[in-house]
Structure formats: C-alpha cells, structure tokens
C-alpha cells in the first residue's frame, strides 16, 4: 500500500490525514508536505495517524523534523494515534514524551482550543 496524504485547516489548526505505510520510500512525501505547510505559515499541525498501517524510524525522523520546524515559530505538532503497534515505536524511542498524542481529532482539537 502506498501513502495517501491530505490536509485541511480548522480554525488555527492544520489537520494532516495520513493513510498507508510510512517508510524510507514514502516518508519524503510526508516531509515535503510538512515543510510546505510550515513555509505557508501553518504552525499548528495535527497529524492523524489512525489509518497508518506501518511506521518505521524514517517516519519518526520526519515527524521530529516537522516538530522542530513548527517550534521555531512557537507552533506545535501533535498526533492522533491509538494503534498499539504504532505507539510501540514511539515508546521504544522515547518520543511519547516529545509529542502530544491524542485518541481522536476531536480530543486534540479540544486540547488545542484550551491552549489558545
């Protein structure tokens, strides 16, 4: 399965929908999208990973890179993920402490709204 990417903006939050497999082959497309969004002034990103079937360390690197970019603009990059097999990779690398990880887009939007 390839990687499908989509995004929309609700209030000040840009929601990135990711579907498929994020590996060394597909991760550059996600990287390009995140860079493009930041370059266009979207500094609060929410990456929905509920439809991600596979994630490896290359994908982690892309997300960390995105986080660094938005933080340079006092922004945020948070995740929606409930899949244990994906969360496991974040735990192994200690990144559960780096990213805000929510159970749903609504939950993330609510938390983001409180932070505004």
């Amino acid at each position: 399965m390839d990687l499908k990417l989509d995004h929309r903006t609700e209030d000040r939050l840009t929601i990135v929908e990711v579907e498929g497999e994020i590996d060394v082959y597909t991760a550059p497309r996600l990287r390009e999208l995140l860079i493009d969004l930041v370059n266009k002034g979207n500094f609060h990103l929410l990456v929905n990973m509920e439809k991600v079937d596979f994630l490896d360390s290359t994908g982690l690197g892309v997300l960390v890179g995105g986080l660094k970019r938005v933080r340079a603009h006092d922004g945020s990059l948070e995740l929606v993920c409930t899949q244990e097999r994906i969360l496991k990779i974040f735990r192994i690398t200690g990144l559960t402490k780096v990213f805000g990880i929510y159970a749903s887009v609504d939950e993330a939007k609510e938390a983001h709204g409180k932070d505004k």
Partner: protein, 148 residues
C-alpha cells in the same frame, strides 16, 4: 526479484528452511520484503505481535543498509527458519563505508524488536559488503526498551 527456497534438513525438530530473496537495493522494494517477512514468520507460528516486530526490524535493518548501498546493485535477504527461531541476514554492496550507525532511531528500534542483532562491517576479507544479522525467537520474553 528472485527467490530461492532450500530445505536443509527436516527432522523431529520440525522446519529448518532457508529462503533467499534478492531484490534491487532500492527503497521502493522494502514493502515487498516486509510482506515476505510476515509470511515466513507466520509459517513459524509467530504471534501477530512477533510478526509485526519482525516486519519492522527487517525494514529498519534494510533502511540502514540502503543508505550505504551502491546504486544499481542488489540487496539480498536470507531467512533461516528453524522450529523456534528466524534468523535474517540482509546484505548490500557498499564502497568506503564503515559499520552501520548505532546511535540513531533505526538502531534503537531494530535492537528493541529483535532478540539479537549483529552489524557486519566491511572487513579485510569483504571490503565491499555490509550486512546486518538479526534473530527473533518465538515466544521469547519481550524486552522493555526505552521509556514507557
């Protein structure tokens, strides 16, 4: 892609097969190798969690090697299946590379998900080959790696 299967011996202990897969050393083929890994692990009755661990571990090992591989060459993966264990050796042709890096996310994930990992650096005998060998046993206690 070429694929070869060799049955070395099969006795009371059960399966002991070797499966070799050769594909272009290009990231586009990694999903093919992950699928093959899952199929072979299922043949050994690994649990779903163990199969997923192996898919990711093989992917990480290959991703590490691909960054050092000579363009246009092949990546070879040799799966040795015994009754309780799968050993996977992935290898590429390289030029002027040292050992795979051990201080990045890829190595962290790889060593957490496999039971044993060896990185085989280019050596005097094989100056242009780099390999990673990983092993996973069925039912082995899951290592708790990294903070929860």
């Amino acid at each position: 892609m070429t694929e070869e299967t060799e049955t070395r011996a099969e006795g009371v202990a059960g399966i002991r097969d070797v499966v070799s897969i050769r594909l272009p050393a290009a990231s586009a083929y990694l999903s093919v190798l992950r699928t093959a890994t899952a199929g072979l692990a299922a043949r050994l009755d690994f649990t779903l969690d163990e199969i997923e661990d192996l898919r990711i571990a093989v992917d990480e090992a290959c991703a590490m090697l691909l960054s050092e591989a000579v363009p246009g060459t092949d990546l070879t993966a040799e799966f040795e299946l015994t009754g309780q264990e799968m050993q996977v050796r992935v290898e590429v042709a390289t030029v002027g590379s040292s050992a795979p890096k051990r201080d990045d996310f890829a190595w962290m994930v790889l060593t957490a998900l496999a039971d044993d990992v060896d990185a085989v650096a280019p050596s005097q005998g094989f100056p242009d080959r780099m390999a990673i060998v990983l092993r996973k046993r069925r039912g082995a206690a899951q290592r708790t790696a990294g903070p929860a």
